[in-house]
């Protein structure tokens, strides 16, 4: 469902109030922020760890870190969601470090070469794809490309907010997004050919 500008503004105001209360030490308000963002944090971390247990642990870690740091939030000048995403992304990178695995982080320039996708994926192709194949296609993207797509579609961020969440310029996010979309459609088209 598409959120209208008015609904978005109301949602933002609602989040702002909860954040303000949480900064003032209101645990209940923080609990409601958890209710608002837990699904998105989990969706982001689940694709990056092996087990659901790890994903749940990491989700809890993200919110505990957010609670510890929330007093300093107001100085950062970015929306709460983008701030929380940064914590989630750093927590994932920390977990990779602990397990000696390194996520692939490529700059926009090093990412997939943009191809002319002549074989655009048909709806019917998509319908035939299993969840595993879909996840495999996502896994083949770079960490930054996956993050951009996750921010745009699951977190509901626009380009500016995505840029704030990733600590990049809007131009870099647009480039990442363009490459991610092209790469994903190319991969899905290949799946179709081989399938």
């Amino acid at each position: 469902m598409v959120l209208g500008a008015r609904e978005t503004a109301l949602a933002e105001r609602h989040i702002d109030r909860l954040v303000a209360k949480a900064i003032a030490g209101d645990a209940r308000a923080f609990g409601r922020l958890y209710d608002e963002f837990a699904d998105r944090v989990y969706a982001f971390v689940r694709g990056r760890v092996v087990s659901t247990q790890d994903a749940e642990d990491l989700t809890a870690t993200v919110f505990l870190k957010a609670w510890e740091a929330i007093n300093g939030y107001d100085d950062r000048g970015i929306p709460f969601g983008a701030w929380l995403f940064r914590i989630a992304r750093n927590a994932v990178i920390d977990s990779y470090r602990r397990t000696a695995r390194v996520p692939e982080i490529a700059s926009a320039e090093d990412a997939f070469e943009v191809m002319d996708v002549s074989a655009i994926v048909d709806e019917r192709v998509f319908a035939r794809l299993e969840v595993e194949e879909v996840c495999e296609a996502m896994d083949s993207l770079t960490e930054e490309q996956r993050s951009v797509l996750m921010l745009r579609f699951v977190w509901g961020f626009d380009v500016k907010e995505s840029a704030q969440g990733l600590g990049k310029s809007e131009g870099a996010v647009k480039a990442l997004q363009h490459r991610a979309v092209r790469s994903l459609t190319r991969l899905l088209a290949e799946e179709n050919e081989h399938g």
Partner: protein, 235 residues
């Protein structure tokens, strides 16, 4: 195979792929994680409970001093950037953490918002730098948002809100409009630049309000759980 609008179609397909790849969190597991998180948060949120008798007494002295008129004169009159300003903020935070939810807490939040407005007025007169001013405005916005909150206000609480609004109206013009805008944004009874309810009567709430500002606070805020993913806009 039929040809279609490549860009649009790609965007739709990718949206579906990403959404399908995002494993959902079951309600039970969400609750379980919430319980884990909140067990820590609840513990931290009320630190005074875990304090020794001595520390608790010290906290109460701090709170009493703050409520009765402020820490020290130097801290009370300090502005952002001053050495004593941290003491002032610390005292406020301690007080906020131990005040029970409800009238007292709301009163104190409005009081702090009033202090922030005063500070901004003085900073304007002193010619404070832009960075400090921006931070002070953000603090005012945070405090007014917390003060208004989401819950309906009692008549007494509405009186605090009215006092704050009147106070803001007495600030110098370079900052008044922005402060009023922050109040309008925080106040859920303000709709299209016009306040609803008795608490705002007589206030100049239209200044600084956008004619197409968001609607009333009575409407429920959109939640990702009820609206679904909201990122389906076009690139």
């Amino acid at each position: 195979m039929a040809r279609f609008d490549a860009e649009t179609h790609e965007w739709d397909v990718v949206a579906q792929v990403v959404l399908r790849s995002a494993a959902p969190l079951s309600i039970d597991r969400k609750r379980a994680i919430r319980a884990r998180v909140m067990s820590h948060v609840d513990h931290d949120a009320l630190p005074v409970r875990g304090l020794t008798v001595f520390r608790r007494a010290m906290a109460m002295i701090t709170i009493t001093a703050t409520v009765l008129g402020g820490t020290s004169y130097a801290a009370a009159v300090s502005l952002p950037g001053d050495p004593f300003y941290g003491i002032k903020r610390f005292s406020e935070n301690v007080t906020l953490q131990v005040l029970p939810d409800g009238d007292m807490q709301r009163h104190f939040l409005f009081t702090i918002a009033m202090r922030r407005a005063d500070e901004l007025a003085r900073m304007t007169n002193d010619g404070a730098d832009d960075e400090l001013m921006l931070r002070a405005f953000e603090q005012f916005r945070v405090m007014t948002s917390a003060a208004y909150g989401e819950d309906a206000m009692s008549a007494e609480e509405s009186a605090y809100a009215t006092r704050l609004r009147e106070h803001v109206e007495s600030t110098p013009q370079p900052i008044r409009t922005e402060l009023q805008e922050a109040l309008d944004n925080a106040d859920p009874t303000v709709s299209n630049g016009s306040p609803a309810g008795n608490s705002m009567q007589g206030s100049d709430v239209n200044s600084g309000s956008s004619p197409d500002s968001p609607g009333t606070g009575d409407a429920p805020a959109a939640s990702p759980e009820t609206t679904g993913p909201s990122g389906m806009s076009r690139p």
